[in-house]
């Protein structure tokens, strides 16, 4: 996030696109609701009807994958009405001309056609955002998990810059990170092309710095992303894989593809709390200690690095992740001896300019928001105040593209995936939690009652869903929060894993994020009639 979570409350207008905030970032939705109650305008754009739509001043359901079209259309109206911030554009940005030429094409008629949103609603959205003053844009996986993910993000940035909303309190472009320390994992160089703090591995200076600190020579070739690694395994390029705390068997876009790949590996090590689907096919499994059993820091979506403490000793024969990694490094002939996580933290802050001013002592329990370059720097509440990281903010001319897969006669439905409020990611942690399990024990698919009626499917009855990749059976949940022709499948449930249906071939060419949000599928009622629950009850009654 360029701005802060509590800063949302200072906003005059909040535009949420592609985020079911109350379910996935509940404590962010709190701030949104508070802003709304303080008088801010709320715009919600989501292919599904979400809880926040009920409170929105403008709530629209655009077609799956039409985000760029929608944003371009909004910007067209904003420019036509002169609501853009001309002063900001000329002083702080570049590339406007080319961008404006692209936007010129996105007339309301064209946009309405591409997105399924009425021209009137488009106008109201544009007006609410364009005339608000400080407006905050929030988005999540609904924007990034598309073939056009990078384009979607660029369009969000375009919109924010167009109205002068980057670098002011209450404004900003605010991606909501799905997992607790995605931000930290990226900051710490958990990416194939950069060291900590986004210092490129191709940069000679950065390499020299790390090579001196670590006492070794470093590979200058950027590595493979996870979306490259899987085919890499099949092509025999990757032979050994070390998976830490992840469950790609459920989170990877294409289950069959991955399953096959994992079997091809010569050696797979998985480090986790549980024997997850992925750990089950590993050669060695490292039993890791859990959150309460260790200390360390995490960085949340507003760039706040926060410290957590150890509450209980590690269970049985488990070790904190850092200890396992250090032992492995040492066993491979590279001594990694650390007394505690603070030593590691001090080593990494010395190598990472944006974290340079942080120490455990300074973090306390409030944490600090990076960039925090020196010991006397108070941290950064909102970024790009006077200048962008690259100097001038760049407008990108982005043209709208259709999603990789369109519904057709064979696969007439669009399937989208996501999370529900009581579970997290692949469910390895939440499904073993009794109070969360009770809230939702099994998977389900959301279908519009109209579609369900046509197929004579009632609540809880099984549906068979097929895509070009595979098929699965899953109970129906009837709700108008999905439009007719659309299905929503939560990702948490291994027994009806969404990635059996989604595609591994469609991903964003730059960010390598797979298109989870749109697949074409067909739906029919499960062939063997599942008896209704009441009927089962009656039968059981009769027997006993």
């Amino acid at each position: 996030m360029t701005n802060s979570i509590d800063g949302i409350e200072k906003s005059n207008c909040i535009f949420i696109i592609g985020s079911n905030t109350t379910a996935n970032h509940p404590l962010v939705s709190r701030r949104v609701m508070r802003a709304k109650e303080k008088g801010a305008k709320l715009i919600v754009a989501d292919p599904r009807g979400i809880q926040l739509s009920r409170f929105a001043d403008v709530a629209i359901r655009h077609k799956l994958g039409s985000d760029v079209a929608l944003l371009n259309g909004m910007m067209h109206i904003i420019i036509k009405n002169g609501w853009h911030d001309k002063d900001y554009i000329s002083k702080r940005t570049e590339g406007y001309e080319e961008f404006a030429a692209e936007i010129e094409k996105a007339t309301p008629e064209i946009t309405a056609l591409a997105t399924g949103v009425s021209e009137e609603d488009l106008y109201r959205m544009a007006e609410a955002y364009g005339t608000a003053g400080a407006a905050s844009l929030l988005y999540a996986m609904g924007i990034t998990q598309h073939v056009t993910g990078v384009d979607n993000v660029k369009s969000c940035c375009n919109l924010a810059m167009l109205c002068g909303n980057v670098g002011i309190p209450g404004g900003g472009v605010n991606p909501l990170r799905g997992q607790n320390n995605v931000q930290g994992a990226c900051d710490m160089g958990g990416l194939p092309n950069v060291f900590t703090g986004y210092q490129p591995v191709t940069d000679e200076k950065a390499r020299a710095k790390f090579s001196e600190a670590w006492g070794c020579t470093l590979n200058e070739k950027p590595g493979m992303t996870i979306t490259d690694m899987i085919p890499g395994i099949l092509e025999g390029k990757i032979k050994g894989l070390y998976v830490i705390g992840e469950n790609p068997k459920l989170s990877d876009p294409d289950w069959n593809h991955l399953n096959h790949a994992l079997q091809e590996l010569e050696f797979l090590v998985v480090q986790d709390l549980f024997l997850s689907e992925t750990a089950q096919v590993a050669d060695v499994v490292f039993s890791a200690a859990a959150l309460a059993e260790k200390e360390g820091t995490v960085t949340n979506t507003e760039r706040r690095c926060m410290k957590y403490d150890q509450a209980i000793p590690p269970l049985g024969d488990t070790l904190p992740d850092w200890d396992i990694i250090a032992r492995l490094g040492t066993a491979m002939g590279y001594p990694m001896h650390y007394k505690n996580t603070e030593e590691i933290f001090d080593e990494l802050t010395a190598l990472t300019p944006s974290y340079a001013g942080m120490t455990y002592k300074r973090l306390g329990y409030d944490g600090l928001q990076w960039p925090c370059p020196s010991e006397d720097h108070p941290g950064t509440v909102y970024m790009h105040k006077d200048t962008f990281s690259r100097g001038l903010g760049k407008f990108h001319a982005v043209a709208y593209q259709l999603p990789a897969e369109q519904p057709d006669t064979e696969y007439p439905f669009s399937l989208t995936t996501g999370r529900m409020f009581a579970h997290f990611h692949t469910g390895t942690m939440t499904r073993v939690s009794p109070h969360l399990d009770i809230e939702q024990e099994d998977g389900y698919v959301e279908i519009n009652p109209r579609d369900a009626r046509k197929m004579d499917v009632k609540e809880g009855e099984l549906l068979t869903i097929c895509s070009r990749r595979g098929e699965l059976d899953v109970p129906a949940r009837l709700t108008t929060s999905v439009e007719p022709g659309t299905l929503f499948l939560p990702i948490h449930f291994g027994e009806n894993a969404a990635n059996i249906l989604t595609s591994s071939e469609a991903f964003d060419p730059l960010a390598k994020i797979p298109e989870f949000k749109v697949s074409a599928v067909s739906v029919k009622k499960y062939k063997v009639e599942a008896p209704a629950e009441a009927q089962v009850e009656a039968e059981v009654e009769a027997v006993s």
């Binding site: 979570i5 607790n180 994992a185 992840e246 709390l273 949340n300 957590y308 491979m332 939440t430």
Partner: protein, 135 residues
């Protein structure tokens, strides 16, 4: 009897709400929202409130495992680490460092992520490091 309240951060989403783990005699009893936390101010969602439950789960792995003849057996840390180190060394020798991939985790701490990419880059000698946030 000893009872403690230890500050921690909820790990179920990127919001990063502040919690206190209530422990009695070294056992995790409950999760309490931390009232003075700058992000969450004493409120949590359903996941945060039940943060302690997955840690107390009987399904947790308690020992490192190695697979021999298709079945997992419990092993010691020394052995698990040694086997892994040997196998990785073999692979690097045979196919070069870029034949290894490391998937770090958005659920680990900063220190652990730092160390994991250091392991990949400095020890294995590859930049094949990624995390699952794309997924």
């Amino acid at each position: 009897m000893k009872c403690t309240f230890v500050p921690s951060i909820c790990s179920y989403c990127g919001t990063g709400c502040g919690v206190l783990f209530e422990t009695i005699d070294g056992k995790l009893i409950s999760t309490i929202p931390m009232k003075s936390h700058p992000v969450s101010g004493g409120k949590l969602c359903i996941k945060g409130w039940n943060l302690h439950e997955h840690i107390n789960s009987p399904m947790r792995l308690k020992k490192p495992l190695v697979k021999t003849f298709g079945r997992f057996i419990n092993t010691s840390w020394d052995e698990a680490i040694q086997i892994t180190a040997d196998r990785f060394k073999d692979i690097i020798e045979k196919y070069g460092p870029d034949s290894i991939g490391v998937l770090v985790s958005a659920k680990m701490s900063n220190e652990e992520n730092y160390l994991a990419q250091k392991l990949a880059r400095a020890v294995f000698g590859t930049n094949n490091v990624d995390h699952c946030a794309r997924l």
